[in-house]
């Protein structure tokens, strides 16, 4: 997500994100959602700031699946 150091994005950028996501929101709905989005954006900043090193997403293959 394109974001400032505080995790917030500009209104223009926010509208573009909504358009790309295809959410089909009105301008009024977008204005309403933006402050809440700014709150949640801090979570994005947080997970991208963690030193993850070589940590993998450990998907586990179960050759026996589906179960009998």
């Amino acid at each position: 997500m394109a974001s400032t150091s505080e995790g917030q994005v500009s209104m223009d950028k926010f509208k573009t994100m909504i358009e790309i996501a295809g959410l089909g929101m009105t301008d009024q709905e977008i204005e309403h959602l933006k402050p809440l989005y700014d709150l949640y954006a801090r979570y994005v900043t947080t997970v991208h700031s963690v030193e993850l090193g070589a940590e993998e997403v450990a998907a586990v293959f179960h050759p026996e699946w589906p179960p009998a």
């Binding site: 997500m1 979570y43 997970v47 940590e55 993998e56």
Partner: protein
């Protein structure tokens, strides 16, 4: 303290089942008493979305006949229970608390629904919940939010809101909730009851409407720890309909109902759960401190532990939850957004704005969190903390976004999949319940139940009932 509660509706499952087994109490009598209790209180509490009065009485008559002919099935036979309204019930409307699913009638029971019925439980009805198991009390959905039996001006917590209020107020003897970030333990804590989220894979999610596939858990909510053990016993175990369920054998949880925790080592991550964060209520902390003292007096060894990754658990839990929720609800969000309540529609839309890298980074964070918990659990048997940062908030001035600003004490165990229980551990000066959370190693529900039971038997908060 009385062994048997004089009010039928406040009996524990253990108490009632003993009378039912001995044929000193009829399932019909017990079911009728529960219906009477619902009739007397639910216009104030709004715990039930759908009451199955005739079906419950019919099932109670069947149970009565079975017991009379000597076919007693066990602790849940003839016991009135209810389901959060996202558990599928064949032929019975299942709404998930949303206009989106207001006419949805499943053709098949959820596995857990079927297992409770097979154990002889009497399904009383479907319970209120926060829409699609997310957000808070939302007056823009078709369903009236449940109210806290201890103070009806206050919320129950959620998302298993009706499960919390119904069990606390004696409107059923046990309920199932579901939990993705704390939706079983939260309302259990705020309503003064017991709520258990077992290890991920211990209880089937088949037939339970999804919020977040990788973090959703199903579990019991009851007034006592032993009742939670009995309900867990009935629903735990491998289910071919849910490939994430474990093949690990299901132990006899009743063997954990003993009052001895001498020698058990309990870790307390004070740096996170007992910090001076302004969003954490000091009265909650002091109440849980007293609970820790009781555990110590019972013979547990308390040690302070550090889990640095707790600082980003909430971020990872939330991004994974909303991303998966958006994927599940995307079609309806785009074609009929007006059918969602405002609170959930906003949050699901935010889930659609996260990028793949946000989701993957969150999954990688989860791996680190799991490793740190595994490391700590090499030193300790259990972890104990407050369940919630605050007691139940008032409806007036309720700010759903306030939960985004502070830490979550329950989310670590959804992100890691570890078992965790909330048990009552006291009240605020204003008379609102406070819960204590006990968490354990993967599939160590017996250890969690053992400590919770030992504490309950000593503290006996479960013997207090709300003023309604």
């Amino acid at each position: 303290m009385p062994e048997i509660d004089t009010d039928l509706h406040y009996m524990s499952i253990r108490q009632a089942s003993e009378l039912l087994r001995r044929q000193e109490l009829s399932p019909v009598e017990l079911t009728q008493a529960t219906l009477d209790r619902i009739a007397a209180t639910d216009d104030q509490l709004h715990s039930y979305i759908l009451l199955l009065k005739e079906q419950a009485l019919a099932d109670a008559r069947t149970a009565e006949a079975e017991i009379l002919r000597g076919d007693y099935k066990g602790h849940l036979h003839g016991i009135p229970f209810a389901l959060k309204d996202l558990y599928d019930t064949a032929g019975v409307r299942t709404t998930s608390g949303s206009k989106v699913d207001i006419d949805r009638v499943p053709t098949e029971d959820a596995t857990t629904t079927a297992r409770l019925k097979a154990a002889g439980g009497i399904l009383m009805g479907k319970l209120a919940m926060h829409e699609f198991a997310l957000g808070g009390p939302d007056f823009t959905t078709p369903f009236t939010p449940a109210r806290n039996p201890w103070n009806q001006a206050h919320v129950t917590g959620g998302s298993s809101s009706g499960s919390g209020s119904a069990v606390a107020a004696g409107q059923c003897m046990g309920a199932l909730g579901s939990c993705t970030g704390g939706s079983i333990r939260g309302p259990a804590s705020l309503c003064g009851i017991v709520g258990l989220k077992a290890t991920y894979g211990r209880v089937s999610r088949a037939g339970v409407v999804t919020l977040s596939w990788s973090q959703d858990h199903c579990g019991p909510m009851t007034r006592t720890v032993e009742d939670t053990a009995y309900m867990l016993q009935a629903i735990a175990g491998r289910d071919a309909r849910d490939p994430t369920t474990s093949t690990a054998p299901v132990p006899d949880y009743s063997l954990s109902l003993r009052e001895d925790i001498r020698g058990v080592t309990i870790g307390v991550p004070r740096h996170f759960f007992f910090s001076d964060d302004p969003s954490v209520n000091p009265e909650v902390l002091s109440t849980v401190e007293k609970g820790l003292q009781v555990l110590e007096e019972l013979g547990a060894n308390l040690v302070e532990v550090t889990i640095p990754s707790l600082d980003y658990v909430r971020a990872a839990n939330t991004i994974i939850m909303l991303s998966e929720a958006y994927a599940f609800h995307e079609k309806n969000l785009k074609t009929r957004p007006q059918d969602f309540g405002e609170m959930v529609r906003d949050r699901f839309r935010i889930g659609g704005l996260f990028q793949s890298s946000d989701y993957v980074q969150s999954l990688r964070c989860r791996q680190i969190v799991k490793k740190e918990f595994a490391q700590v659990f090499q030193q300790v048997d259990l972890l104990v903390s407050p369940t919630m940062t605050q007691p139940a908030a008032a409806f007036e001035g309720y700010d759903a976004s306030s939960t985004v600003r502070g830490p979550s004490f329950t989310a670590p165990y959804n992100l890691t999949g570890l078992p965790a229980i909330s048990i009552p551990c006291g009240f605020t000066a204003g008379g609102l319940p406070v819960g204590m959370q006990i968490a354990g190693k993967p599939f160590d529900e017996p250890g969690v139940i053992r400590a919770a039971y030992a504490y309950q038997q000593q503290a006996r908060w479960h013997e207090q009932h709300p003023p309604i």
